[in-house]
Symmetry: C2
Amino acid sequence: MSDWLDQIKWTDDGLVPAIAQETGTGKVMMFAWMNRDSLAETAATGYAVYWSRSRKKLWRKGEASGHQQLIKSINLDCDADVILLEIEQQGGIACHTGRKSCFYRRLEDGEWLTTEPVLKDPAEIYAGSQE
Amino acid sequence: MSDWLDQIKWTDDGLVPAIAQETGTGKVMMFAWMNRDSLAETAATGYAVYWSRSRKKLWRKGEASGHQQLIKSINLDCDADVILLEIEQQGGIACHTGRKSCFYRRLEDGEWLTTEPVLKDPAEIYAGSQE
């Protein structure tokens, strides 16, 4: 039952890029990386698990913030080297800055303008923990 | 006027991942990489230009297929290391397989099932050229 994992073209580091998109709205929430274990656990548990390249460990999204991502579908691209997750975002916040989406800056006249409000203070989101 | 390019955290290879999302529908169409030149040209011309890692050259999306991507907005994530393009897809086909989106496979019961039809035969799309 792990043939589907073997069909993915992992990078030399054993990773695959993953895009998380909110179901319903279609909003692109975040981008992260997965390794084989994280994708297997994502499929098995129904909640998004990434691979933290900086901490070199599984990153169970929401374990500190409570902002878990419930998996609605797992999709693969034509080259079998990018994953697209359709998710339901718990708490409505995916970004560690307290914004809904990580993509909150837009290029306007040669400058990156912030286009989304902070919905919750990160100090409050991560009180007593580190995600 | 290139300060906005300096604010991007490029990989050691000088690249940044880019996600192309269709305006209106919110459909995620494809994922590719950009270098500084390709992103600068994308912003300047208003059409998506990627960096082909396999061919090691600028990849002006649609130059062979006619399926150019008209830029509606260029967005940046919280870590300044991922680009999200909002695009209008010329010809309604982003994928080299002739499908609308590259993400046409969905995991169902441990198998990748094809969920989107081929809209146009690739042989016809790329007749006489190579993208």
